[in-house]
Amino acid sequence: MILIGERINAGFKDIARAIQTKDPEPVKTWAVKQTERGADYLDVNIGAASKKPEDMAWLVRTVRESVPTKISVDSTNVEIMEAGLEALDGRAALINSTTADSGKLETLVPLAVKYNTSLLGVAMDERGSPPDANRRVENAAVIFAAAMEGGLEPERIILDPILMPLKFMQEQAPHVLEAISQYTFLSDPPPHISVGLSNVASKVTERGLIVRTFLVMAMTRGLDAAICNVMDEEMIAAVATAELILNKEIYSDSYVRAFTARRGP
């Protein structure tokens, strides 16, 4: 399971303030904490706190200097994205994200090639969010084809079927699960499949339970990545257990501990 830590995002007040005052400490703290909990990537997003490409460059640089972890450069704005990629200085990374929009694909696929990163594509297009599994598959296939044509191998492509809040769009969850199953047939080996996990539990009371349950259900369909709260110990334990049951990890009595330790420094 590829865990992408969501915490370095200007949607959180401490990070927004850090970006505005150029205070590296909160960013460092979260980079270290999430890495210790086994994050494979750290998502980095300046959100609404800034529109300045140099702020993204600062944030990426601050993370890069704090930990050896891979970085997920998260922006919908191409200029901000490129500033972030430039600041990677060779660090392994992923672009978060493109859509099936041809204009976006034409810009972002070459950037992934140029900076040698993976590319995360969310299954929406100019028509907006997908209403069902079919549209999710259609959009993902467009992204997948464009990425392959551009020279990215399946291992560098991450598809996101777009997870909706359970509380407000309950009918969408089965469509997401179905789309995940379908994505696994796109190639052999299949592309990676990821969701923005916290979205499913927006404004619910049983947050942790819904997150873990969805995650485990999705893993059985082929989900192998998630942008998530890696500080959620119960969620990590559920992932570790699901990986065992899917025979992707070797059992040991201390397997939950081993799941974090296996990633190592």
């Binding site: 070797i250 201390s254 330790a261 296996r262 990633r263």
Partner: protein
């Protein structure tokens, strides 16, 4: 018409830990050379696919007491030196080309000669003075006695960066503490059980002993005695390590000699089973054949006994590494 051969190369994400044994005077020890093993980025000898930067190495077994119960074919080459572990080790290195010496403290066994920790220390010192290669020091196998002997032995060999063994799921605290205090590496033992192999590593990690300083000993079976079970466990451990599980991405040690020379196919004299042929040839061949299998499964250190088997295995390693032996 030429058929297209599909691309079958695999790239793995995580290298096996490289481990260095021994310390020269520059590194605070007295060894004349060190040995580095591990560091593979692919399955054994798949040179077309990745790196195998360090060839597997051969250790020869030396005891702290004469090995009176060894069968004739392995007693005979050492008959003149068995009374002195130092001379025994020197013969292994100088005459038979051992790259490491594995000192087995068999004499400390309470069911045998029940030698004292002081005796073990003097045997260790004798070997350290007599040879310049790195040392493996293996306890007698009695947990309580080993925990009494190792503190003295680990201290006496302080700074020499030896490989001490073994830790198990039930007994790891003494040796991990000694390994940290006196800078030695450790052998993690499990009884042909992949889950326990992983568990003992995680237990060591939890008491602060870094996984980079551990070798896996998944138990060894002689050819004809469960070798296929051990093989598949070694293979699965190695694949998991290469795929990114750092808790099992360690070099692997196989204890060949002790297993092979306990089975009748290797040790029975020709007088008992004439149809099996010359025991002087059969035994070493059995040992070498067992070693070859483990090389292919991913062994990084082989502990062996018969000089002829050592020579054959060394030549095989050179060939498998792309040499011209």
């Amino acid at each position: 018409m030429t058929a297209q051969i599909p691309e079958v190369k695999k790239t793995w994400t995580n290298p096996i830990h490289a481990v260095t044994l021994g310390a020269t005077d520059k590194e605070g020890g007295t060894r004349t050379s060190t040995i580095t093993i591990g560091g593979e980025t692919t399955l054994p000898f798949c040179h077309f696919e990745g790196e195998m930067p360090n060839a597997p190495v051969l250790a020869m077994e030396v005891w702290d007491v004469p090995a009176t119960d060894w069968p004739e074919p392995i007693k005979e080459p050492f008959a003149d030196v068995m009374a002195d572990p130092g001379a025994w080790a020197k013969k292994c290195v100088d005459e038979y080309g051992a790259q490491l010496v594995c000192l087995r403290l068999k004499g400390c066994d309470p069911n045998g000669e029940n030698k004292s920790p002081e005796d073990a220390v003097s045997a260790t010192k004798r070997v350290l003075e007599s040879v310049g290669v790195p040392l493996i020091i293996w306890g007698c196998g009695n947990t309580d006695k080993d925990n009494e002997v190792f503190p003295a032995v680990a201290e006496a060999a302080s700074g020499e960066n030896c490989l001490l063994g073994t830790i198990t799921e039930d007994n790891y605290k003494t040796l991990t503490a000694l390994g940290t205090a006196y800078k030695h590496k450790l052998i993690a033992e499990s009884p042909v059980d992949i889950n326990m192999a992983k568990q003992v590593n995680i237990l060591a990690l939890d008491v602060g002993f870094p996984t980079e300083n551990i070798l896996i000993y998944p138990s060894t079976g002689a050819l004809g005695y469960g070798i296929e079970y051990v093989y598949s466990i070694m293979e699965r451990l190695r694949i998991a390590g290469l795929k990114g599980d750092k808790v099992v991405a360690m070099p692997i040690l196989c204890d060949i000699g002790i297993e092979v020379w306990g089975v009748k196919e290797a040790k029975a004299p020709q007088s008992e089973v004439p149809e099996w042929g010359d025991a002087a040839l059969r035994g070493p061949l059995w040992e070498a054949a067992t070693a070859y299998v483990y090389l292919l499964a991913g062994a990084d250190i082989l502990v062996m006994r018969h000089p002829q088997a050592v020579r054959m295995t060394k030549e095989t390693i050179e060939r498998l590494m792309g040499g011209t032996a």
